[in-house]
């Protein structure tokens, strides 16, 4: 299927994270995770950029591709937010992690360990796929398909128009569920671009301001996205991050 090409290019956040950690020859732990966070976010950005380009095309195919990408993005963002929490432990001592968030980070570590053990299996299947000799079987009742003009007709006892209509409804229900699931994901993602431009806008308007101000009354999830956006901006060197001492607020400054 055409629109799965994009999905295929990205194995997933765990694979990416593990690759980054292994490239640095580090073990899987909090320190190494915190260390590769920026690289991970940068990667997430390139993924996002590809998506925006797709979203500009308006035909149905591009729209579908965009929705598929959203699903994957959701998972990358989910991992990214865990990394941000972790990083924030080092950067924002004021933002104490809840038990749940600590558990999330432990869970991420555990998953990476499992993924590391799984990786050889993926290599093995890839090898088999590329080099194996195939075994072939016969078609279902080969040679028994009725020739034109031949009268075989076995409808069974449950075939009527109602049964066919019900089956059609079932198919379209499945398709609808599939679409709704993506819509929900879309609603839940606060897109990075929006946040980034929002932050930029406010900085330009009000000059330097405190991170606490910026995040305002928002939910924790959104606060993380704001933080993510700031990290992104800092990386792009659009603003400078300044933390006076370990326990203070972070200053966001216009460059």
């Amino acid at each position: 299927m055409e629109y799965e090409t994009r999905v295929g290019e990205f194995s997933g956040p765990l694979e990416k994270l593990l690759t980054l950690i292994e490239a640095e020859k580090m073990d899987i732990n909090e320190v190494s995770l915190a260390k590769v966070t920026d690289d991970f976010l940068r990667y997430l950005e390139t993924f996002k950029k590809g998506m925006t380009e797709d979203a500009e095309a308006i035909d149905a195919d591009a729209e579908r591709k965009f929705r598929v990408d959203l699903r994957i993005l959701a998972d990358f963002v989910s991992v990214a937010s865990k990394l941000i929490f972790l990083k924030s432990k080092y950067l924002l001592p004021g933002l104490a992690l809840t038990q749940e968030e600590e558990a999330d980070i432990k869970d991420l570590e555990a998953r990476l360990h499992i993924y590391q053990q799984l990786k050889p299996a993926i290599k093995l299947i890839n090898q088999l796929w590329a080099t194996s000799h195939h075994s072939f079987s016969r078609q279902y009742f080969i040679g028994k398909v009725a020739m034109p003009g031949q009268t075989t007709f076995y409808p069974g006892t449950n075939l009527d128009t109602e049964a066919l209509t019900a089956a059609m409804h079932g198919i379209f229900d499945t398709i609808k569920t599939y679409d709704i699931e993506t819509e929900t994901i879309r609603e839940k993602i606060v897109t990075l671009e929006e946040k980034i431009s929002e932050v930029l806008g406010r900085i330009q308007k009000e000059g330097d301001m405190h991170f606490n101000n910026l995040s305002g009354e928002k939910s924790r999830g959104e606060m993380i996205v704001v933080f993510l956006a700031i990290l992104h901006l800092a990386r792009e060197q659009l603003v400078l991050l300044e933390q006076m001492d370990n326990f203070s607020d972070i200053m966001v400054k216009k460059k």
Partner: protein, 185 residues
């Protein structure tokens, strides 16, 4: 040739139809004499009571088939298989073909989200569906309901099926423009 019998068995097994001596020689890369020897060996093997297959041949062609002593058991097996009630999966495939046919296999599979080769074959064997060459892509095939199916459903054309218009509309939303025709087998 090493493993001549085994190669011949494998080849005739997947081909399903009578295969000419010439073709076999070229596929296995052997001369006529050697092929004759291998066929005789295979024939002798198949005579065993532990084998259920036999070679059917004329001067030019040869085919692997089941021994006649299993005809009755196999025929009743097949009859039972194709007269069973349609499974939910078969009904699903058949409904798409009835409502949206003629349709390619790729499109059917795309809508169902499942590989449908075997189900299509079973629907054809049951006389519910037929396959024909796609007039627009001569190398591809399309599937449609048979005349007997329409008669059984009590309709003259698919437009008479309940909610026909509605499903056509729904389909437009979901439709996929990419090339859909099934390559020739």
């Amino acid at each position: 040739m090493k493993n001549g019998r085994a190669s011949l068995e494998a080849l005739l097994f997947i081909h399903g139809e009578p295969l000419s001596y010439k073709k076999i020689q070229s596929v296995l890369g052997i001369e006529n004499d050697e092929l004759e020897t291998i066929i005789k060996e295979l024939q002798t093997d198949l005579e065993s009571n532990d084998r259920g297959l036999q070679l059917v041949s004329d001067r030019e062609k040869i085919q692997l088939a089941t021994k006649p002593e299993f005809n009755s058991i196999l025929e009743s097996f097949m009859k039972e298989e194709i007269s069973e009630d349609l499974t939910p999966a078969s009904l699903e495939a058949l409904s798409i073909i009835a409502y949206l046919g003629p349709i390619s296999r790729a499109r059917l599979e795309y809508l169902r989200g499942v590989n449908s080769i075997v189900i299509l074959r079973s629907l054809m064997i049951r006389g519910l569906v037929e396959r024909f060459s796609d007039p627009e892509h001569p190398s591809g095939f399309l599937y449609r309901g048979t005349f007997d199916l329409m008669k059984h459903l009590g309709i003259k054309e698919k437009g008479e099926l309940p909610d026909y218009e509605k499903f056509q509309e729904l389909l437009k939303v979901f439709d996929q423009p990419a090339a859909e025709t099934e390559p020739a087998q």
